[in-house]
Amino acid sequence: MTKPADNLTDKPADNLTDNPADNLAVKPAVKPAVNLGVNLGGLQMKNPVTTASGTFGFGPEYAPYVDLNRLGAITVKGTTLEPRKGNPTPRIAETPAGILNCIGLQNPGVDHFIAEDLPYLRNYDTPVIVNIAGNSLDDYAEVTRRLSGAQGVSALEVNISCPNVKQGGMVFGTDCLMAAEVIRVVRENTKLPLIAKLSPNVTDIVEIAGRVAEAGADALALINTLLGMKIDIRTRKPFLGNTMGGLSGPAIRPVAVRMVWQTARAVRLPILGMGGIMNAEDAIEFILAGAAAVAVGTANFVNPGAAMDIIAGIEQYMKDNGVTDVNDLVGAAWK
């Protein structure tokens, strides 16, 4: 499918429209530009790069470093029905090429998000993916209803996989039937594109992916953090305030790539791939494994401009390799 390199122009990507079809149409005398636009289960993105929930706040935090208009989408911190305080500190620990966190879904609650944070995001020409979590099916249903009625929410990413909360979270995420139940309930309450975010802390990622697909998900996001732990040998006690935490960063990348590969081959839903993406090469690896889009998480902490660099790097890779449409790279490693 890839076009020869001499068909390429140096046209900047901002000349593209959001609709990949428009960008693909070869108009007479106009050489095709590089298309970065992707469709993630009904969510149209101008490029395949979003932020990983919980690593990018609600947007304004990184505005001095990132042109929010250039992101494919902004994925915000996990939101729950009631405000959550989160876990005691320390909430973060460093491990080889990774970090453990136990934030515990601290957030101001869905109503506060809609009233105070969403209006800011509406200033940008970038879709907003709201990550949601709950303790019960009723919680998920109610959060879904409130967000579906709010202006400026483009998609819901359903966290059925947070390792850092006592109830819900991973219990839902690691039990196939419960995971499917959560997705079914959210589906019943929204027409928005529904992205199911999966936990890697399972025996068979493909089985759970299949169940949530049947339950009505439009796309899958993977992976959330891997459950891990660190012990302080000085105090002889667990280091983190919540004993265990979620591992993210480059340390988990090979696991994430493998899970994206397995899931993409087995389930016919677009995938939002993440887990240790630090640069464009890493992002392209996920796309080749089958991800239609990618999310940048821990990398933001290291390089606040990481998402911008990754968008530019993907475009450069396409130009260098004669690829005119990023969609041609999706799953190219197994096609």
Binding site: R84, R91, I92, A97, G98, G109, P250
Partner: protein, 251 residues
Amino acid sequence: MRVYVPQLTKLAKPGQFVHVRCSSGLDPLLRRPISLHGIDYGKGTISLLYQVVGTGTRLLAEMAPGDEIDVMGPLGKGFTVPDGIKKALVVGGGIGVAPLFPLIHSLKHYGIQQTVLLGARSADFIIGREQLELLGVKVKIATDDGSLGYKGFVTRLAEDEISGGTPDYFFACGPNPMLKGLISLTKGFGLSGQVSLEEYMGCGVGACLACVCKSKAAAGREPDDSAEGFEYKKVCVDGPVFEASEVILDD
């Protein structure tokens, strides 16, 4: 370490910090928060004073003059000097004196009298005494082992100063036990002040919620769990400097 960063220096205020990348590789992965120890608006430089405690600070110490360094900032809310204070008590524990230097300079600039108390494990860990004395600032010292100055905690010196009745405000930075002692002491005397806190950080910009500290729920705001009577604030953007009366330090 002195860093030439004119854009950052222009905006820098006492008590703020920079988030420093210590390695271009993956170990350590995260940036390290380091306070502004000196701000030279004329030269466009900031200086950082740090104690080598692990990999990140060791890599910083191994850098050579002329090397490039990746710093983000200035970040956080710094010290504010309230109107009307006449005599300040400044307390630094260990490496905690680092961010107090720019403050001490600005107190001097405003003509506010000050006494600086320095505390540390031993004489070797007392930092900046000579520079402070050169500035003409009154300095008193406490060491745990008595190798310099008073033998015991710096909070004891603080108690003497306060009960002597002179300071009308205080500023402090140091280990949590010291700050905790100081907060309860000053509360007893009705002395208000500001403290600079440390917490493990991820992003440094308020996005990850790793660096929180407990704060007495702000008046008029519904605390999310009123039974516990606190809310978490972010050290990186709401601090690192907080009103002493606001923070709750755990043991």
